[in-house]
């Protein structure tokens, strides 16, 4: 991958183009080339800056400096002063406008580096995932060696606590604390389980780690075993991830051959071994207690809690359950220290986060960035703008049970704390970006269909509620909606959230709740006016084929 020292973004919304943005873009290319800096500086386009008054805008990272309005004559100066000599051309800066909600972000984030920072994915896509030597060549097993030869189990946990690492499986529970719960429970037998079920639609970050760097998970689980006092581990891999399963099997085999799994690892008293367990395709088996049931060979239904898995997990023994990405953070933290980790991200949510970007943007794929970057940055910088110049309407974070985030919240820093304050959730890291042609009611309907199908049926609010919400939404998109439906939706959302047994039911109503909160007028248009403003929903019940006339 090409790493550039600076990133130049030139706005390309229609207004900027009208005022000569294309010419400016070309001039930047020319001026940068004239100084032989092509290899160090990348140029790309930025859309929807929300600042027509300052268009065309030029943003330069990593300093996050905003110039505007920029004209052709300014380009040479910006290149000369800023990019060549490293001084900000103060008099060309865009006037900052506070509290417009839109570009204030650039001011506040000045100096922080949004460039991709790879900790979790540092080896994925570079090493051969089927060769343990390549893993070892790139710092592999250094962290385990450090722990086994020089640290007490409690010291390992202390480093994790100090790092502030939070679970990346969706809920964001502090990892060090969870480890200390398991470590603190007395038992002859304990287990470490890696949750690699990843069945949240649109999420594939764990798969990239499992396929690209499987030994990182094996090493992290071994460290976890040492820290909490377990001698056996399971990786529960989503059934569809055949390639990941094969690579994990291979990784376990090689680790055993090298004596890095098995009895008396590195000549110490510590023994640990790992089994790979395939799921069978149920979404609910990603929920940690359903997952444990499934490993035990039972039907994948969530247990009632308490007791939590940390005290009574697999076969009734204390069990540590962690997500793949969470575990992948452990070895680098142990090697470099908790304080090192805290330099990334925000004070309340340290570290990086892996996001999968999908939907109506020009670039889809995977990024690992510090916690706390904003949706706008994701869309405009990493997503390289909306496809076909469309307008950003909403994003759904974290897969099907994630929040539906309207454009007005796109400058909220994406970290656990800020999202909680804004009343939305970060979820697992899928970012579905939708443009103006997306109908929110249609989106909600698709999601509800998923929940209705995946509800395990153990408890009534979820079994019946998900079906009822789906039914009501179907009525609305077919033009049979009534105002009573809105009331019923409010009621269903409330009951699902409050009295479902597990996270599936509790969060199944998140998207529809957000639609009711942020997109009520659009929903009402379907009901009161009988129109779908985006022209997506049929708004009439499917007509039955008339019987053929004999």
């Amino acid at each position: 991958m090409n790493f550039s020292r600076s990133m130049v973004l030139v706005s390309s919304d229609p207004e900027s183009v009208r005022r000569g943005a294309d010419e400016i873009y070309a001039l930047f290319e020319k001026e940068i080339a004239a100084r032989d800096m092509e290899g160090e500086i990348s140029i790309s386009r930025l859309t929807d800056t929300g600042r027509p008054d300052a268009a065309p805008i030029v943003v330069i990272y990593p300093e996050a400096v905003v110039y505007g309005p920029v004209n052709a004559e300014n380009v040479k100066e910006i290149v000369e002063e800023h990019l060549y000599k490293g001084r900000v051309a103060e008099h060309l800066l865009a006037p900052t406008r506070e509290l417009s909600g839109r570009i204030g972000w650039l001011k506040t984030r000045k100096g922080t580096l949004p460039a991709e920072k790879r900790i979790v994915l540092r080896r994925a896509g570079r090493i051969d995932p089927e060769n343990i030597e390549e893993y070892i060549a790139e710092d592999g097993y250094q962290a385990l060696a450090k722990a086994l030869t020089g640290m007490k189990a409690t010291e390992v946990i202390d480093v994790l606590k100090e790092s502030g690492l939070q679970g990346r499986g969706g809920a964001g529970f502090p990892t060090g604390l969870k480890w200390s719960f398991v470590a603190g429970t007395q038992s002859e037998k304990k287990y470490v389980v890696c949750n690699a079920d990843e069945s949240e639609p649109g999420t594939f970050k764990d798969r990239v780690i499992l396929e690209g760097d499987p030994l990182a998970i094996i090493e992290a689980m071994t460290i976890a075993g040492y820290a909490v006092g377990a001698d056996e581990g399971f990786v529960y891999v989503r059934g569809e991830y055949k390639l990941a399963q094969n690579r994990l099997e291979n990784a376990v085999k090689q680790a055993r051959e090298y004596g890095l799994l098995g009895k008396n690892i590195m000549d110490t008293a510590f023994s640990f071994d790992i089994h790979i367990h395939s799921g069978a395709g149920a979404y609910i088996c990603g929920e940690e207690t359903a997952l444990l049931e499934s490993i035990e060979g039972k039907r994948g239904e969530p247990r009632s809690r308490p007791p939590y898995p940390t005290t009574e997990g697999l076969w009734g023994k204390p069990t540590l359950v962690n997500n793949v990405e969470t575990l992948a953070n452990v070895p680098p933290i142990l090697l470099n220290g908790g304080q090192w980790y805290r330099q990334f991200g925000t004070p309340s949510s340290p570290g990086t986060k892996v996001y999968t970007i999908l939907g109506n943007v020009n670039f889809t794929g995977l990024i690992e960035v510090p916690m706390g970057i904003t949706l706008r940055e994701v869309v405009n910088i990493y997503g390289q703008g909306m496809k076909d110049g469309a307008t950003f309407k909403l994003a759904q974070t974290g897969g099907s049970s994630g929040s539906v985030i309207p454009a007005s919240l796109q400058d909220t820093p994406m970290d656990f704390e800020s999202f909680r304050k804004a009343g939305v959730s970060l979820g697992s890291g899928a970012l579905l970006i939708c443009d103006e042609n997306t109908c929110v009611v249609d989106l909600a309907l698709v999601l509800q269909k998923f929940f209705k199908f995946e509800s395990c049926g153990k408890c009534t609010p979820c079994r019946v509620g998900t079906g009822r919400i789906h039914e009501i939404l179907t009525g609305i998109v077919e033009g049979r909606g009534t105002l009573k439906d809105m009331e019923n939706l409010d009621y269903l959302v409330d009951s699902l959230t409050r009295i479902s047994n597990c996270g599936l039911g509790q969060t199944a109503s998140v998207p529809i709740n957000d639609v009711l909160k942020y997109f009520r007028p659009e929903l009402e248009a379907h009901i009161k006016l009988g129109v779908c403003p985006c022209g997506v929903c049929p708004m009439s019940a499917p007509v039955k084929e008339p019987a053929a006339v004999a």
């Binding site: 090409n2 990348s42 030597e133 250094q142 798969r207 396929e211 690209g212 090298y258």
Partner: protein, 122 residues
């Protein structure tokens, strides 16, 4: 089979692995790395790697290591192929169809000049 019994063992294996890698990146050696994660394979990386191997065989090229790696996260550009000639910097190509692969082999690996058209923008 080297069994890791101590920190020194680990260090030794690491140094040996790094040495092996050093040989691969010395002048006269070329590495071709094909992204074989799920998105790569779905986009046709198997055909691509086959085209590369065929080219090497048909043209009797030597000192080339072709290996696989996981997904690097730029899914819109799969299949992705990285070419490292000697100690030069890695060149990352995207949307490498079998035809593109042959072209890259011809011009870059054999001919020594980078094929700009397929380079992934940073």
């Amino acid at each position: 089979m080297p069994v890791v019994k101590s920190l020194d063992d680990l260090k030794r294996i690491r140094e040996e692995a790094l040495q092996k890698r050093q040989i691969k990146t010395s002048p006269g050696h070329t590495q071709i790395v094909v992204g074989m994660g799920t998105p790569g394979i779905a986009a046709g990386a198997r055909e691509t790697i086959k085209a590369i191997l065929d080219y090497i065989e048909n043209n009797k090229l030597e000192n080339i290591v072709v290996r696989q790696t996981g997904n690097i996260g730029r899914d819109s550009y799969e299949p992705i192929v990285q070419v490292i000639v000697g100690d030069a910097e890695t060149v990352t190509y995207g949307k490498v169809t079998p035809e593109a692969a042959s072209e890259i082999m011809e011009k870059h690996v054999k001919g020594g000049s980078v094929v700009r058209a397929y380079i992934i923008p940073a």
